[in-house]
């Protein structure tokens, strides 16, 4: 690996100053399971590595029903699964984080890092989009809020400026009778990159058993993760019967633009988008049905 300098800020301010000072020459480290591999391969060669894991604000999970969830960008994936509120109110996002590599990887990799790495196949991104997560981004000129679906711009690229930091995710509290789910297809049963990933969040009105809100998002079937708006819209106001869910699946397939690569063919991926959309919508709806009405 090339020689690097290691910066270890303990406040957001200091971290932003460092990022601003080093600009293009700096890269944030909030897990390492992508960055260290990329530096070894010579794909990224930052002169400065700014470690964000010792900034308390980036390591916090705070949840309340009224204010929703604030998830620090550098919280290790494993901590989502260990958090009872996460498992109860955001099961889809939690299972997505729990699918990142092995336990050894989950103890290091963070949701923020997973997003900032900008991989179209990242497991947590569709799950974040599904639950309507927003990113709080801080830079020298102050802070801004970016919806997760607007964050990635191309493989490995995001809206983040060289001097900006992703500090936390802001996720609305779960509406009554709402829940989410995430599933991916991989050839093995662990340790693979998603061939296709689908996340969905569903809100139901149990009175007339209709879907009042829905968000479906896709991974690994385009240059960036995809918020499948039309697919989501096909569910809203409808009873979630097989025919309706099939429509959503078809719309999701239409929203995807996969390619052939070593992980799967475009033809196979389109097919799997349909299969997983049906499975994920069904699971999320079932969870929503049994979730508390508060």
């Amino acid at each position: 690996m090339h020689a690097i300098n290691y910066e270890n800020p303990t406040t957001v301010d200091h971290a932003v100053k460092l990022m601003a000072a080093h600009g293009e020459k700096a890269r944030a480290l909030s897990g390492g399971s992508d960055l260290i591999i990329q530096m070894r391969a010579g794909v990224r060669r930052p002169a400065y590595v700014v470690d964000l894991k010792n900034i308390p604000e980036l390591r916090k999970i705070s949840f309340s029903l009224q204010h929703g969830l604030r998830l620090g960008a550098a919280v290790p994936a494993i901590e989502l699964h260990e958090n009872a509120d996460m498992r109860r109110y955001y099961p889809g996002l939690t299972e997505a984080a729990h699918l990142i590599g092995s336990l050894q990887i989950q103890s290091r990799a963070s949701v923020g890092g997973n997003l900032c790495n900008g991989s179209p196949a990242a497991d947590t991104i569709p799950a974040l989009i599904a639950v309507g997560a927003k990113c709080r981004v801080v830079g020298p000129k102050g802070e801004r809020i970016v919806a997760v679906e607007d964050f990635c711009t191309a493989p490995g690229r995001t809206v983040l400026q060289p001097d900006e930091l992703l500090v936390e995710f802001q996720i609305p509290g779960p509406a009554p009778h709402s829940s989410d789910a995430y599933q991916r297809f991989i050839p093995r049963n662990e340790m693979d990159i998603a061939v296709v990933g689908v996340g969905a969040a569903i809100t139901l009105d149990l009175a007339d058993d209709r879907c009042t809100a829905a968000r479906i998002a896709l991974a690994a079937v385009g240059p960036t993760p995809i918020f499948a708006k039309e697919a989501s819209a096909t569910l809203i106001g409808k009873k979630l019967d097989a025919a309706t869910i099939e429509k959503a699946a078809q719309a999701a397939i239409a929203a995807s633009s996969p390619i052939d690569d070593m992980r799967g063919t475009a033809e196979f991926r389109r097919h799997i988008v349909g299969v997983l959309t049906k499975r994920v919508v069904t699971v999320a709806a079932e969870r929503a049905r049994v979730s508390s009405s508060r």
């Binding site: 090339h2 020689a3 050839p187 093995r188 662990e190 063919t265 196979f268 299969v275």
Partner: protein
């Protein structure tokens, strides 16, 4: 459960002692090649070709040499040119010129990852940075990636020196053609009621050992050098390194470190001679460790292949004829295992009429190396799925069908010679009686498949020494590297002969200066052949014990008996000495006792195995779940049953990997896409069920213990067994490895749309 037909009874052999090298391995103290460090040591790294096929126009190293910390850089020009002829080396015949060109390319690079230059620097990071600064000017040539393309007239030629003697001495990529012929095959097919003919394609796959290749070398100014490395053959590393360096073998000592898996892939050299050259150039010890990417790109995988297989049988299930055409990817230099593939593909069967044509074909992929029963697994995928299909057509149980045609003692092998006593029938019977095969498989989208496999096993040379200690214990010194229990097995053989406990024997794997010549740990030869050498060495020690007792008791040696560690003489009960007591008398009866054993085994007993697999196929995603798997294998006589089971389970797991997901994926420019363990998908423990084993023991004739080779044959049948299970679950006969979800899904779609399945399944 051991269905033993062995007449002999043993006290130690067949028991399950704790392995002697276990403690060091569970505490992290065992020293593998990468764990050796020497004072003032340099670190070496390779520059590798980014092109699959190119001519090297120039190499500029000045910038790299200028980097602080860089001590030396070598290229192919620094290596002596070697004769373009075959010599005997690690995994059998080796062409020394090709070996040397594979270590460092000369005028041409022949695959993505082909080594071009090597750097030695004060640490590995600096060496890596220096590699980035070497400038190579390439003239890119068209890559030839498949045997089909390579065999086409007008194909780009990898090696202009290679001539096709069969077709008017033209340039060719066909390195060799073998043919095996018996009877009149066309006549044979006339008597067949059912004939199945299919074309199969199997992917190039890697041995996948977890430990990357490594080596530490120090070149002595007195000409005497030492190499520490993880290898399956310390004497092979010595011979090949000496040949490449142009020095006498005796000038190099190879110290075999613990080895982190080999499966055939560590029989030859990739780094060792280069580390030696860098050490010579710098006067310092040099350590080299491959990255995982280098391991996958540039060490020997085994061949992908195309096999056209046509087999016919009568209504009542008698096989009558087989016509087989097979072409294996050799990689960049000749030497695929297509010969072994040809000699194993119908080895389990007695087929009166057959013809097999086998081609070894150069392609712009890494030079293939041996991999666990080399060539046999590709071949069995073709023959064992067709046999299964024929059994279905005849409406005969697949085990029964195989019993009807089973090779037995006296049956002619593919190459002609008759089998001696073999255990194929016993293996099939044991599978028939296994809990797995007797169980019922229920539920939708599920299927069961069986398949069988054959491997020769090899003998060759081994040496061993047994030292008796003053306290009546012993140590056994071998030169066969221990890849997975050899020391325990050889200590048990020693203990058996000496009539003492396995725990009272210390086994040691010695370096090449400290023990007589040993061929590689490969070909499933170690337990059998080194076992025979150890057996002989221990018997030599017993002979000397008897002489010493005879001396003490004023008897003739032939009047002394030795059993269970006690010396006695007939008709004089007062005369009785345990080995412990005798050991105290060594000094006054002629000094310490050392037994020696050396063998060059002729025929060793071949092995047969059978696999039974239950699968469930997800109808929506075509993902295959392995529900249950059983391996049945004839091992002759199991020395340490736990490690025999381990070999059977390991081969089964690797075979399931071949079946479902493992493959080299190259793009159209000939670059390997999946050069990491994330995308070269070996099974994790979530991908496998409990692996059941049934040990069959049909003693090998002519072996002191009756052992047959154990290590290889278990990998041969699983892919075909999985394919047969998928066929019974889905009605689709897959003819491609791996049977990955995209391929199986395509075949399932085509079946639903009524389009012909084979072409779909065959499409890579």
């Amino acid at each position: 459960m051991a269905a033993s037909t062995n007449g002999k009874t043993f006290k130690v052999i067949g028991t399950r002692p704790i392995r002697h090298d276990g403690l060091e391995k569970v505490t992290g103290r065992a020293k593998y090649g990468a764990d050796y460090s020497l004072p003032d040591m340099l670190h070496g790294k390779m520059l590798r070709s980014p092109y699959a096929h190119a001519r090297i126009k120039s190499i500029k190293i000045d910038k790299a040499l200028a980097l602080p910390g860089v001590k030396a850089i070598i290229t192919g020009a620094d290596l002596p040119t070697l004769p373009d002829e075959m010599a005997t080396g690690g995994e059998g015949p080796v062409n020394l010129a090709h070996l040397s060109e594979n270590l460092l390319a000369r005028d041409k690079v022949l695959y993505d990852g082909h080594a071009v230059a090597a750097v030695a620097a004060t640490n590995a990071h600096i060496a890596e940075e220096a590699v980035r600064l070497i400038e190579v000017d390439y003239e890119v040539l068209p890559p030839v990636m498949t045997v089909e393309d390579a065999m086409k007239p007008g194909a780009a030629i990898l090696n202009p020196k290679l001539r096709n003697k069969e077709e008017g001495d033209k340039e060719t990529n066909i390195a060799s053609h073998l043919q095996f012929k018996r009877g009149e095959v066309d006549e044979g097919f006339k008597s067949a009621d059912y004939v199945i003919e299919r074309e199969f394609k199997t992917a190039m796959v890697h041995q996948g050992y977890i430990e990357p290749h490594n080596g530490v070398a120090i070149f002595g100014s007195d000409g005497h050098s030492t190499i520490w490395c993880s290898t399956q053959g310390s004497f092979a590393v010595r011979a090949l390194s000496a040949a490449v360096a142009g020095v006498p073998e005796s000038n190099i000592k190879v110290v075999p470190a613990e080895i982190g898996g080999g499966f055939g892939g560590k029989l030859t050299v990739y780094l060792e001679p280069i580390a030696l050259f860098l050490s010579k150039k710098t006067g310092k010890p040099v350590k080299m460790i491959m990255s995982r990417g280098d391991v996958l790109k540039a060490t020997g995988p085994t061949s992908g292949s195309t096999i056209r297989c046509k087999i016919g049988c009568t209504k009542d299930g008698k096989l009558v004829a087989a016509k087989i055409w097979m072409a294996y990817e050799a990689g960049a230099y000749p030497g695929s295992p297509v010969g072994a593939g040809a000699m194993t593909i119908i080895a389990p069967y007695n087929i009166p009429h057959m013809i097999i044509d086998a081609y070894d074909v150069l392609v712009n992929r890494p030079k293939t190396a041996a991999y666990r029963a080399p060539g046999a697994t590709n071949a069995a995928m073709a023959s064992e799925t067709i046999i299964d299909e024929l059994a279905d057509k005849c409406g005969i149980d697949p085990i029964q069908f195989r019993l009807l045609n089973a090779a037995q003692e006296g049956t002619a092998q593919t190459a002609g010679p008759p089998y001696k006593k073999i255990g194929y029938v016993e293996t099939l019977e044991a599978l028939k009686n296994s809990p797995h095969y007797k169980s019922k498989l229920e539920g939708p989208n599920r299927g069961r498949g069986i398949a069988t496999g054959f491997w020769f096993n090899i003998g060759m040379n081994s040496s061993a020494i047994v030292h008796l200690n003053g306290d009546g214990t012993a140590s056994v010194v071998i030169g066969s590297v221990d890849v997975g229990g050899t020391r325990a097995a050889q200590a048990m053989v020693t203990a058996e002969v000496l009539g003492i406990r396995a725990e009272d024997v210390r086994p040691l794997v010695a370096d090449t200066d400290s023990i007589g010549y040993n061929d590689v740990t490969g070909g499933s030869r170690t337990a059998v052949t080194t076992g025979a050498a150890v057996f002989a060495a221990a018997e030599d020690a017993v002979r000397q014990l008897k002489e010493r007792a005879a001396k003490l008791w004023e008897k003739k040696p032939e009047e002394i008996a030795y059993a269970d560690g006690v010396l006695t003489t007939a008709g004089d009960p007062s005369k009785k000495l345990t080995i412990k007591e005798m050991a105290k008398q060594f000094a006054r009866t002629g000094g310490p006792i050392t037994g020696r054993g050396s063998v060059n085994l002729r025929t060793v007993g071949p092995s047969f195995a059978a696999t039974c697999v239950d699968v469930e196929v997800d109808p929506d995603t075509a993902k295959v779940k392995i529900l249950r798997a059983t391996c049945v294998q004839d091992v002759g006589k199991a020395l340490h049953p736990s490690y025999v089971e381990g070999q059977m389970q390991g081969g089964t797991a690797q075979g399931i990997g071949w079946a479902l997901n493992e493959e080299y994926v190259y793009d159209d420019r000939g670059n390997l896409r999946n050069f990491g363990l994330l995308d070269y998908r070996m099974p994790t423990c979530l991908d496998l069920p409990e692996l059941e084993t049934v040990i069959v023991e049909v003693p090998a004739p002519g072996h002191p213990i009756g052992s047959r080779g154990v290590g290889e044959v278990s990998i041969v049948s699983p892919p075909a067994a999985v394919a047969n299970a998928i066929a019974h679950a889905t009605g689709i006969r897959m003819v491609v490895l791996p049977m990955s979800p995209p391929r199986l899904m395509k075949a399932m779609h085509n079946k639903r749309n009524g389009t012909e399945t084979q072409a779909a399944a065959a499409g890579r």
